[in-house]
Amino acid sequence: MKTEALKQALDKYKFDMAFGGARRDEEKSRAKERVFSLRTPEHRWDAKNQRPEPWRLFNTRKKKGESFRVFPLSNWTEQDVWDYIAIENIPVVPLYFAAPRPIVKRDGALIMKDDERMELKPGESVETMMVRFRTLGCYPLTGAVESSAANLDDVIAEMRGSRVSERQGRVIDQDSGASMEEKKQEGYF
C-alpha cells in the first residue's frame, strides 16, 4: 500500500532519484541491492539489469522515465545504525523504545492496536504488553518485539544479545524466501 503511494508521488513529481535507508544486512535479496538501484519507468526492479558498482564509481546515467533508488547506508548494519545514533545523539521515534502498549497476537506477530483501523478476529483480544519495535513498516503488518529496553543504552545492549533478525517482525517478508524480491519487482523500496 505504501508502495502505491510512493509510485504515485514519483510519477507526479518525476523525481530522478529517491533516497532510502535500506541496508544489505536486512534481508537476502537486499544483500544484492546496488547503492544506485535502477528502476524502470514502471518502477520495477529488474535484478538482471543492475549495474556493477566497482570501487566507489557509480553510474548515474539513465533514460527518460527511469529512476534510481539510492541507498547510501547499504553497508551499514543494524548495530552501526544504533552506534551512530548514540555517537551523534540523534533523536528517534519513541516506538523504538519499550513501553506498555495494547497488543493483539496474530499469526505469531505482535500487532499494536491503538485505534479502530484494525478489526479483531474471533478469539483475538487486546492485552497490554511491554514491547518495542525494531523496525517500522506498514500497519498492521509490522510486529513488535517483547522488550524492556526503554532507552538507548538498553536497546543497544538488547540488540547485541538478540537471537532474531531485525525484520523478523515484518509479516511481509515471511510468505516465501523470495517474498522481498517479488515486492521489490513491484516497486517496493
Binding site: K32, L57, R61, K62, T77, R163, G177
Partner: protein, 579 residues
C-alpha cells in the same frame, strides 16, 4: 559508502564528548556546511547529554576487514560463508527456521542444512543453485567486524566478481580439492591482482571428499605457487578446509593433523592485509560539487583522496592549471584548520579560479597527471565486443567525459597471463588499452592512487556500465603541455595567444588553419584596396596592418572569449540523465 564501523574507530573519547551537540543544530538547508557559522556547535548546545555513559557501547577496538570469496562454480563459496555466519552465531533464530524450511525445498545437501541458501537470495539463484550477483554479508567476532562480498563463480558473472574484488582488502580463493586449479581460479586470481589485492588466502575446500589427503593439498599448493609470480601477491596462506563439514573453519580439524597453520577464521581475525598506501601524500580532492548557497560563498566539496589540506596551502586546480590558496576548510561541524584523506570537506579558495565538478584540487607540488589519453587494463563486461575506435563515456573519480578507445594494445590470456594481440575483446576478457578522452582528465597510475587510478566505461546509448579498469600510465606529451600551461606565460607568448584567439587553445593544425585564413582575409582587403584605386605601394602596408591588428579588435570587444557552455558536461543527455 563508509560504514561507521570504520568511522567509529577514529574519534577519541574527547572527540565523542564534543560531538554530543544534537543533530538538530545542523543546518537544515541541505546546502552542505553552513558557510558563516563560525560558532562552535557545542557552545550553544543547550543539551548536555550524558554521552560519557554511551562510550563503552561503541567498541573502539573493533577493526573492519572487507574480503571477497571467489573461485570456480561449485567450489562451495556460499556454503563457506554460510558456515562462517553459522559458526560465529551470526545467523538469527528466525533465519535458521527459514533455512531449515528452504533446505528441504531447494537444498542440495540431502538431510543436512544447505548453508548456501543463507546467502543465495534471488529466486533465480535458488532455482539454479548458483550465485549470480554479489551478496554482501556482515558478521563480527569479538576482535573484528567483517564485510564479505560473496562473488559468483560462473564465468558469465565474472564482472560481479570484479566488482566485489575492487572493494576488498583480501581475497579468499576457493579451490575444489578434487578438481584442483581451474581456468576460473586463474581468472579470479588475475582479477584479484588487477584491482590491487595483495593478501590472499587459498582455501582448499572439500577436503572431506579427498579423504583429507595431505598429498592432494600439497599438490594443489604447488600448482598455485607456480602461477604466483605473475600475480604480485605478497601474502599468500594455504588452508585445507571443508566448508560443509566445518573442518579448519573455526576450530582445528582432527582429520588434518598434518596441518599446523591457522584456521580460516583465525587467519581472517589476525591478518593485516597489505594494501598499497591509499590516501598518501600529496593532497588531492576530486570536486564532486560546487557549493554556492549565496553570492558570498563558493566552496568545492568532495572527499579527500590523498594527503592533507590546511588553511593557507597553495593549490592548483586541474586540469585548468589555475593557482590559488586555501581560504577555508569546512567539515561536517563547521570550519576546521585542516582535513586529511578520507574526510568529506568543502574548501574555499582565495581567488576566483575556474573549478567545476570533475576537476581535482591538488597541492602545488603535485600538479601533474593531466592528459587526454592514458593506457590501462580493463575488464570488458558487455555482451557485444569492444573494438578499437569504440565511443564510450569515461568516469574517473568525479569526472565524466566522452572517450574513444584509440588502441586495443593486447588481450591478456588468462591461462598463461600473457599479453597477446587482439582485434576485439569479448565479455569477461581483460585487455590492455589506450583511451583518449574528449577533454583532459586528471588521472594517476592505480598503484599511486586508487581513487584517481580506477575508472569505469559507460555505453553512451544503453547507459550500461560496460568496463572497469585501472590506469597504468598517463599520456606524457599531454601531461607536459598542461603542466606548461600552468606556468605563468611570458609577455610575448601572451600577446601571441591573444592574437590567435581561441585557436591558441587548439592544436598545431588548428593554429595553422587560423593563420592561413587570416592571410587570405588580408589579401582580400588588399585586393579591395586595389579595386578602389589605392596607391600600389600602400596596398601591402594596408594588408599587413590588417593581418596584424584586426584580431585585437576581437579582444577589444570581448569577442574572443569562449561561451560559458564550454564547461557544461557533454555527457549530459536531454532526459536529465547525467547527474
Amino acid at each position: 559508502m563508509t560504514s561507521p564501523t570504520q568511522a567509529r574507530r577514529l574519534p577519541d573519547e574527547a572527540d565523542l564528548a564534543q560531538r554530543s551537540a544534537p543533530a538538530a543544530l545542523e543546518d537544515e538547508t541541505f546546502a552542505g556546511p553552513a558557510p558563516d557559522t563560525g560558532a562552535d556547535p557545542v557552545s550553544d548546545g543547550a543539551v548536555v547529554d550524558p554521552q560519557g555513559a554511551m562510550q563503552p557501547l561503541v567498541s573502539p577496538a573493533a577493526s573492519l576487514l572487507r574480503f571477497i570469496t571467489c573461485g570456480s562454480v561449485d567450489d562451495g563459496k556460499s556454503t563457506l560463508i554460510g558456515r562462517l555466519l553459522f559458526e560465529t552465531n551470526s545467523v538469527f533464530d528466525d533465519q535458521m527456521d527459514a533455512l531449515k524450511r528452504d533446505s528441504k525445498k531447494f537444498g542440495t545437501t540431502g538431510e543436512d542444512l544447505d548453508f548456501a541458501l543463507l546467502v543465495d537470495g534471488l529466486s533465480a539463484e535458488r532455482e539454479q543453485g548458483i550465485t549470480i550477483d554479489v551478496a554482501y554479508r556482515y558478521f563480527s567476532t569479538g576482535n573484528r567486524a567483517f564485510i564479505i562480498a560473496d562473488t559468483p563463480g560462473h564465468e558469465q558473472y565474472t564482472r560481479n566478481m570484479a566488482t566485489g574484488a575492487s572493494q576488498a582488502e583480501l581475497a579468499v580463493i576457493l579451490v575444489d580439492a578434487r578438481k584442483g586449479i581451474l581456468p576460473q581460479t586463474r581468472r579470479h586470481s588475475f582479477i584479484t591482482s588487477l584491482v590491487g589485492i595483495k593478501s590472499v588466502i587459498v582455501a582448499i575446500n572439500k577436503m572431506d571428499l579427498v579423504d583429507y589427503s595431505q598429498e592432494r593439498f600439497e599438490e594443489i599448493k604447488r600448482g598455485y605457487e607456480a602461477i604466483l609470480p605473475a600475480l604480485g601477491f605478497t601474502d599468500v596462506t594455504f588452508i585445507p578446509v571443508s566448508a560443509k563439514a566445518g573442518d579448519n573453519i573455526v576450530t582445528h580439524s582432527p582429520k588434518t593433523p598434518w596441518y599446523r597453520g591457522e584456521t580460516l577464521l583465525e587467519r581472517l581475525e589476525t591478518v593485516e592485509p597489505e594494501t598499497f598506501d591509499a590516501g598518501a601524500e600529496p593532497f588531492r580532492l576530486p570536486v564532486q560539487w560546487v557549493n554556492r548557497p549565496n553570492l558570498d560563498f563558493r566552496g568545492f566539496s568532495g572527499s579527500i583522496v590523498g594527503g592533507k589540506v590546511t588553511k593557507g596551502d597553495a593549490i592548483v586546480a586541474l586540469p585548468s592549471g589555475g593557482r590559488s590558496r586555501v581560504k577555508g576548510v569546512h567539515g561536517p561541524d563547521g570550519e576546521v584548520d585542516s582535513a586529511e584523506a578520507g574526510e568529506a570537506v568543502t574548501v574555499t579558495l582565495a581567488d576566483e579560479i575556474d573549478v567545476s565538478r570533475g576537476d581535482v584540487l591538488v597541492s602545488e607540488a603535485a600538479a601533474a597527471g593531466v592528459s587526454r589519453s592514458f593506457s590501462g587494463d580493463l575488464l570488458w563486461m558487455a555482451n557485444r565486443p569492444l573494438i578499437q575506435g569504440g565511443r564510450l563515456i569515461l568516469k574517473i573519480a568525479s569526472a565524466q567525459t566522452p572517450a574513444t578507445l584509440t588502441t586495443l594494445d593486447a588481450a591478456i590470456d588468462i591461462h598463461s597471463y600473457e599479453a597477446k594481440p587482439a582485434d576485439a575483446l569479448s565479455m569477461n576478457e581483460i585487455g590492455r588499452v589506450t583511451l583518449t578522452a574528449e577533454r583532459p582528465v586528471v588521472a594517476l597510475p592505480y598503484g599511486e592512487n586508487r581513487d584517481l587510478g580506477a575508472f569505469i566505461l559507460i555505453d553512451p546509448v544503453s547507459n550500461e556500465t560496460v568496463a572497469l579498469g585501472v590506469v597504468r600510465s598517463i599520456g606524457e606529451a599531454e601531461a607536459a603541455k598542461t603542466e606548461g600551461s600552468a606556468e605563468p606565460r611570458t609577455g610575448l607568448a601572451r600577446v601571441a595567444d591573444l592574437w590567435l584567439g581561441e585557436a591558441a587553445r587548439g592544436d598545431e593544425k588548428h593554429r595553422q588553419a587560423k593563420i592561413r585564413a587570416r592571410i587570405a582575409g588580408s589579401v582580400l582587403v588588399g585586393l579591395l584596396a586595389l579595386i578602389f584605386q589605392m596607391p600600389l605601394l600602400l596596398v601591402p602596408v594596408l594588408a599587413i596592418l590588417d593581418f596584424v591588428l584586426r584580431p585585437f579588435l576581437a579582444v577589444a570587444f570581448g569577442a574572443d572569449r569562449l561561451p560559458e557552455e564550454k564547461r557544461l558536461d557533454p555527457t549530459v543527455v536531454d532526459s536529465g540523465g547525467g547527474i
